[in-house]
C-alpha cells in the first residue's frame, strides 16, 4: 500500500483557489466550511508566496491522539479519517492540529460546535465505499474509484501534488533539480517527520 501525502510546491502556486473550489464542489462541503484553503505569505511584498493547505494526514496524527472519544482512524493508505457518528464536537482536534484542518459547523448554543469536518483525501468515511450515506457525511470517495484527490488533480500549475509520498517526492526532487530552486515541501517535517532532500 502507498503512503498517501500532499505536497504543495509553493514556488508554483499562483493563488488561483481552484483547489479550494474543486474540493468544495466535489465533496459538497457545507457553507462556511473549507477543507482546503490557500494562504498567501508576505502578500504584496517582496518574497510573496502562496501555499495551499489542508489536512496533511500526519504520521502519528495529533488529532487522533487527543480525541476524547477516539473517532479517528488511519486507512491502509495512511489517510487519516474520522467517524462523524462518534464525534462530539469538542474542538480538541483543532487545537492539536498543526495545520488548522478540522472545521466545525456552528450549531446550537454559544460557540457550540457540530460534528467535525475535514479533508478526507477524497477517501470518504467509515460507511461503505461510494454509498449515499458516505457521500452525505464525508463527500466523494475518489480513492475507492482509483482516482486521486480532485484539488491536486485539477491544479492548473501542478503546484499541488497528491499521491504516494515517494512518487510525489521524486517528482518534486526532479523539478527542483531542473529549475535550480525550491522552497521545500511545506509542512512535511511537522506532518511526516521528514523533508525532501533537494
Amino acid at each position: 500500500m502507498a503512503r498517501m501525502k500532499f505536497l504543495c510546491d509553493a514556488d508554483r502556486c499562483i493563488e488561483c483557489n481552484a483547489c479550494v473550489t474543486a474540493c468544495k464542489n466535489e465533496n459538497n462541503v457545507p457553507w462556511g466550511i473549507n477543507r482546503r484553503r490557500v494562504v498567501t505569505l508576505n502578500d504584496g511584498k517582496a518574497g510573496e508566496r502562496s501555499v495551499s493547505m489542508a489536512c496533511m494526514h500526519c504520521t502519528d496524527a495529533p488529532c487522533a491522539a487527543v480525541c476524547p472519544v477516539n473517532c479517528f482512524y488511519t486507512t491502509a493508505d495512511a489517510v487519516v479519517l474520522h467517524n462523524k457518528d462518534l464525534c462530539i464536537g469538542c474542538g480538541y482536534c483543532f487545537y492539536a492540529c498543526p495545520f488548522g484542518a478540522p472545521q466545525y459547523p456552528k450549531l446550537g448554543n454559544f460557540g457550540s460546535r457540530g460534528k467535525m469536518d475535514k479533508c478526507t483525501f477524497c477517501a470518504g468515511g467509515p460507511e461503505p465505499d461510494g454509498s449515499k450515506a458516505e457521500y452525505e457525511k464525508y463527500g466523494a470517495n475518489r480513492l475507492a474509484e482509483g482516482k486521486l484527490p480532485l484539488c491536486a488533480e485539477m491544479c492548473s500549475t501542478k503546484s499541488l501534488l497528491a499521491g504516494d509520498g515517494d512518487v510525489i517526492a521524486q517528482i518534486y526532487k526532479e523539478r527542483v533539480a531542473k529549475r535550480g530552486y525550491g522552497s521545500g515541501a511545506w509542512g512535511w517535517k511537522t506532518a511526516y517527520y521528514e523533508t525532501i532532500a533537494t
Partner: protein, 335 residues
C-alpha cells in the same frame, strides 16, 4: 612612538578588514533575497514566529494560520502531562486521606454531644453551598471524562455508547458551568467578610488546626471560619475564577481575536487548575463528612451541636452566645 604607530596601523587594518567583511556579507544577503528560492522559507518563518500565518480569501481568519507545529506540544500536554498531573494529584490525595483516616480516625467530639444545637448556616447559605457543590461534582466528572474517559472506559476502538455519554457530558459541562459560576459568586459575596485573615489564624496554621495531634487540647482558636476554611474559601474563589475565565474562553472559541495558541493556553490552565481543584475538594469533602464528627450537619440541616461549636470554633461560639440566644440556638427535639 614607532610602537604607537604600529598599533594604529594594526587597528586600521583590522577595521578595514571588518568593514570589507560586513560589506561582502551584506551584499551576499541582498543577493540571496533576490533569488526566488529564498523568498520565504518555511524553517525561517517557524524559527521566527513559531507559526506560519499569511492572508487568505475566506472570512475564517483562523484559517490563515497554515502551520502551527506547537499543536504537537499541546498534544503531548493533553495526552501525557495532564494525565500525570491529574493522576498524581487526585490519586495522591485519596491515598493521603485514607492513610490519614487510618491513623487519626474520625476526629471525635471530645466532650460528646450537649444536645443543644446552634444555627451555623442559614437556608440560603446551604442552598448556595449545595448549588455550587452539585454543580462542581457534575463538572468534575464530565471534565475528567474528557481527559481520562477514553483510557478508563477502554473506548480504544471508538464505542457508540461512550460517544453518546461524552456528548451529553459535554452539554452538561457547558450548561452547568453557569450554575457553578453563580454559586461561586454568591459564596464570595456571602462569606468574604468572614474570610479575611485575623491574628488567630497564624496560630491555627502553625498547629495545623490541631488536626495532626491526637491530644485533646490540640484545638486552636477560630471564629466562624478557621484558617484552613479561609484558605479553602480563597482557593475556591481564585481557582473558580480561573476555571470560569478559561472555561468560557473555551466555550466561546476564538472570540475576540483569540489565536490558536491562546486557545491551547486556556485549555492548559483549565486542565491543570481543574485537576488540582478536584484534588483539593476531595480533602474538603473528607473533613466535612467521614473525617470529623458533627461537621456535616452544619451544612446538612444548618445546625451544629454546641459542643462541636465550642471545640472547633470557640470564638464564633462566644460571639453567637453574646449576641443573644433566642434566634440562634434551638434545642434538639426530645426523642
Amino acid at each position: 612612538m614607532a610602537k604607537l604607530f604600529a598599533h594604529i596601523r594594526l587597528l586600521t587594518g583590522v577595521l578595514a578588514l571588518a568593514l570589507l567583511l560586513v560589506t561582502v556579507l551584506a551584499g551576499s544577503s541582498t543577493a540571496q533575497q533576490n533569488a526566488p528560492n529564498a523568498a520565504t522559507s518555511e524553517q525561517q518563518l517557524l524559527n521566527q514566529f513559531k507559526t506560519i500565518q499569511g492572508l487568505g480569501t475566506i472570512p475564517d481568519k483562523k484559517s490563515y494560520v497554515i502551520e502551527h507545529p506547537a499543536g504537537r506540544e499541546w498534544q503531548t500536554f493533553h495526552t501525557a502531562t495532564l494525565k500525570w498531573i491529574g493522576g498524581i494529584a487526585i490519586i495522591g490525595v485519596l491515598v493521603v486521606l485514607v492513610l490519614f483516616y487510618l491513623w487519626r480516625g474520625k476526629i471525635p467530639l471530645t466532650k460528646g454531644r450537649s444536645g443543644r444545637t446552634i444555627v451555623r448556616f442559614g437556608a440560603f447559605e446551604r442552598f448556595v453551598h449545595w448549588l455550587t457543590a452539585s454543580a462542581f461534582v457534575v463538572l468534575a466528572i464530565t471534565g475528567l471524562n474528557v481527559t481520562f474517559g477514553r483510557a478508563i472506559f477502554a473506548a480504544g476502538d471508538g464505542s457508540e455508547t461512550f460517544s453518546t455519554w461524552s456528548q451529553w457530558a459535554k452539554y452538561a459541562h457547558n450548561f452547568i458551568s453557569f450554575a457553578f459560576t453563580l454559586g461561586v459568586v454568591l459564596m464570595f459575596i456571602m462569606w468574604v467578610g468572614r474570610n479575611f485573615p485575623r491574628a488567630v489564624d497564624i496560630e491555627w496554621l502553625k498547629r495545623g488546626g490541631g488536626m495532626f495531634s491526637k491530644k485533646q487540647d490540640a484545638h486552636t482558636h477560630a471564629y466562624k471560619f478557621n484558617a484552613g476554611q479561609k484558605l479553602l474559601f480563597w482557593a475556591v474563589v481564585i481557582a473558580g475564577a480561573a476555571m470560569m475565565i478559561s472555561g468560557y474562553l473555551l466555550m466561546f472559541p476564538f472570540y475576540g481575536g483569540m489565536t490558536i495558541s491562546n486557545m491551547e493556553t486556556a485549555e492548559v490552565f483549565h486542565g491543570i487548575i481543574g485537576v488540582l481543584f478536584i484534588a483539593m475538594i476531595l480533602g474538603h469533602i473528607y473533613i466535612g463528612t467521614v473525617g470529623m464528627e458533627g461537621a456535616f450537619e452544619g451544612m446538612y440541616d444548618g445546625a451544629v451541636d454546641a459542643n462541636w461549636a465550642k471545640e472547633h470554633h470557640d470564638l464564633w461560639y462566644e460571639q453567637v452566645m453574646s449576641e443573644g440566644t433566642e434566634r440562634s440556638t434551638r434545642t434538639a427535639p426530645a426523642e
